[in-house]
């Protein structure tokens, strides 16, 4: 009887232990209020123009025990581009740059996630201006917090650079640089 009870205990531990990684995958929805997608681009090689996108959404899955099962997705509305100058923003939305009537979405969807020295190395497909290309960046962060009470959060930050011409966004390169430096910092609320 005692042996039977012991075996049941072992079986319970083994089963819960085995199922633990599956339970470790946490799903989050990006909290845009505490997140930012910003960029800077050279103007004629003289100075940097800084901007941000005010409208974006996304979700991610973080599996602490199996990073390969993690995934990240971000959808940005290029129409929400904001550089602090209304006329410039208007120009950026039109056919010389984002052409938002032709390409209304800018998105990223991860295809692989692995552990890196200082965070998570994420590779995925970036779609900009109707062209999809793979990009890789390192996400740093992953700290967790409960705020307000009962709401679990985690967040990450990354920086990357892309050549806009590689995505077919190649007009007026002499005025606005080809290389765009992007910084993304996001916080997710656990579902």
């Amino acid at each position: 009887m005692r042996a039977k009870g012991f075996m049941c205990g072992v079986l319970f531990v083994v089963l819960t232990g085995v199922s633990a990684p599956a339970l470790a995958a946490d799903n989050y929805v990006i909290d845009a209020m505490h997140s930012a997608v910003t960029f800077k681009i050279s103007h004629m090689g003289l100075s940097w123009v800084h901007g941000r996108f005010n409208s974006f959404s996304g979700s991610f899955v973080v599996d602490a025990n199996n990073p390969a099962a993690s995934s990240f997705e971000l959808n940005i509305k290029p129409e929400s581009v904001d550089t602090g100058q209304a006329k410039r923003d208007e120009h950026l939305r039109l056919a010389d740059f984002f052409n938002v009537k032709q390409f209304p979405t800018l998105s990223f969807k991860s295809t692989s996630v692995k552990t890196a020295e200082n965070g998570l190395e994420v590779t995925g497909d970036l779609t900009l201006h109707g062209t999809t290309k793979p990009v890789t960046f390192t996400l740093q962060g992953g700290r967790k917090a409960e705020f307000p009470k009962g709401v679990q959060r985690t967040g990450y930050t990354t920086e990357l650079s892309i050549k806009r011409s590689a995505f077919g966004m190649d007009k007026m390169l002499e005025a606005l640089g080809d290389e765009v430096f992007i910084a993304i910092s996001f916080q997710g609320i656990k579902k």
Partner: protein
């Protein structure tokens, strides 16, 4: 803004080649046939436009991704081929008319292909099937009507200045689109303006030649395309686009009963002056509008409760 020297080179080359090709093909020392003149006009405007575009080096993508790609790589080449076919005397007028009609119906959908307007999406700008039908049919009717009325005007008035007038309208359309926020799209009108001007200038040295509308197909389709791009991919208003597209019809004013007594050359000058004035006034208005400061609008502010709730 692009290099002004590059713009001058592009327009100069387009005009010079269009003029040279017209003189070469019409061969003023012979008596040209109407078909030959039609083909010469279409060829001169077509190759002039192509050379001007080559000089401007617009950023084109294959397969075409946006309206400018489709304008240069699809719309204008097809217009050119149709106008060449139209110059073949053995082809029935019915067939040519049908080809032009089908092409006119296809231009707007081709330019707008894949955009938020024609794609079923949640976007507020996405057209419902009924809206799509009405707008596309409306644009086709406008193109066919203006094209037909200008062809009729050319055959009736047989003046030589109508290509100049259309070129001036294209110039005003290009400038207006540039001031509407699409520099690359507006500049694409320049090679067409230069080719029309060059061919029209060369035609002035020709002896009286048969009436031709070989230049009209490329000119009117080019004007229409630039305005569609400006309206749907830049900030050109519907009113500005419609008025600019209809401006060449002012060329009919000197054909009204009171003016018919005037000599053809005077009527030609009058129609050119009318069209040029109207086109340049619209371009000037676009410049003033683009120079005006933006009025501030009250910002949409989320409630304090939204903030305190942390978007839960």
């Amino acid at each position: 803004m692009p290099d002004p020297v590059l713009l001058l080179e592009a327009t100069g080359a387009a005009a010079a080649l269009a003029a040279f090709v017209l003189l070469l093909l019409v061969r003023p020392w012979r008596s040209p046939s109407p078909a030959g003149v039609g083909a010469a006009w279409a060829t001169s405007v077509g190759v002039g436009f192509a050379l001007g575009c080559w000089f401007l080096q617009p950023k084109l993508h294959w397969p075409p991704q946006e309206d400018q790609d489709r304008f240069i790589l699809l719309v204008m080449p097809v217009a050119f081929v149709i106008e060449l076919l139209a110059a073949i005397p053995r082809l029935s007028r019915w067939l040519i008319g049908s080809l032009r009609g089908i092409f006119a119906a296809a231009v707007a959908p081709v330019l707008l292909y894949g955009s938020v307007y024609l794609t079923a999406s949640q976007s507020a700008e996405s057209w419902s099937p009924t809206q799509r039908l009405l707008i596309l049919v409306g644009m086709t009717v406008a193109l066919v009507t203006v094209w037909g009325l200008l062809a009729l005007l050319q055959s009736r008035a047989s003046g030589r200045l109508l290509p100049f007038a259309l070129a001036l309208t294209c110039f005003a359309a290009g400038v207006t689109v540039v001031f509407s926020g699409c520099i690359s799209g507006g500049l694409l009108a320049l090679p067409l303006v230069a080719a029309l001007m060059g061919a029209a200038a060369a035609s002035l040295v020709l002896p009286a030649s048969p009436i031709s509308t070989g230049w009209l197909g490329l000119g009117i389709v080019g004007l229409f395309s630039v305005l569609v791009s400006g309206r749907f991919f830049a900030d050109l208003s519907t009113g500005q686009a419609l008025v600019l597209f209809c401006v060449p019809l002012l060329g009919w004013v000197p054909e009204l009963p009171g003016f018919r007594r005037l000599r053809l050359s005077w009527r030609d000058l009058a129609r050119t002056a009318l069209i040029a004035t109207a086109a340049l006034v619209i371009a000037g208005q676009a410049f003033l509008k683009s120079s005006a400061p933006i009025s501030s609008s009250p910002e949409e502010v989320e409630s304090i409760q939204d903030y305190l709730d942390f978007k839960r």
